[in-house]
Symmetry: C2
Subunit: 141 residues, 2 copies
Amino acid sequence: MRPKLNLITLGVKDFERSLQFYRDGLGWPLSSASQGDVAFFPLGGVVLALYPRDKLAEDAQVSPAGSGFSGITLAYNTKSQAEVDEVLQTVENLGATIIKRAQPVFWGGYNGYFADPDGHLWEVAWNPFFGFDEADNLILP
Amino acid sequence: MRPKLNLITLGVKDFERSLQFYRDGLGWPLSSASQGDVAFFPLGGVVLALYPRDKLAEDAQVSPAGSGFSGITLAYNTKSQAEVDEVLQTVENLGATIIKRAQPVFWGGYNGYFADPDGHLWEVAWNPFFGFDEADNLILP
């Protein structure tokens, strides 16, 4: 099994609402491979997919019931501390819930969190120890 | 906000157990930026991180309580149908729970699911309509 994670699917309750947030709000480019109630956003390395939560559970053959902390967070890394503030302001303007206001973190960075329309948690983080390659992917030693 | 997802963090209950699964079991390369109870696996585009679940909730300033379906699935895309079977066999041998045995899916592919030591759901999927670039990332139109 090669070291790879190709795609992340977020289960959504209201597909149109989520599409509006990611495609129209954030302006992320939607792949033409999207169809019906599945949306694909190629993010230069990993693909983010949106799919109805019930159908996602059905595909995995698990119960759709679940509540509270999902135990997973997604992170958008910024290139400056100021960009963290800017991004959180942008998503707040789009109606996202700010879960944690931007603030310094003990490890030397600066982060905040927002919840997307389904409560999926996004960390917006500036890590002064991380760099980016030409595709904006993180460079880690 | 550029279209980007840099890092995914899986909250884990037993850090050593998860490290054993991903690093020793799957053989995924651990970044030397890992330290203490945070592990980083650069997966050629996105970084997978492991971090204690309680601390992850604390970082996001949310309650760590949560149960049932997380509403998120991660996907490893294979290059053949046979590779789906092989990967599921590999992770089953490592002690992962097979949630859905590999089978044809209505959209024309073939998939199965396993749960990692913390129950995080991984889809292992062969999609005959998707291709890969030289970095093994999915190519979507």
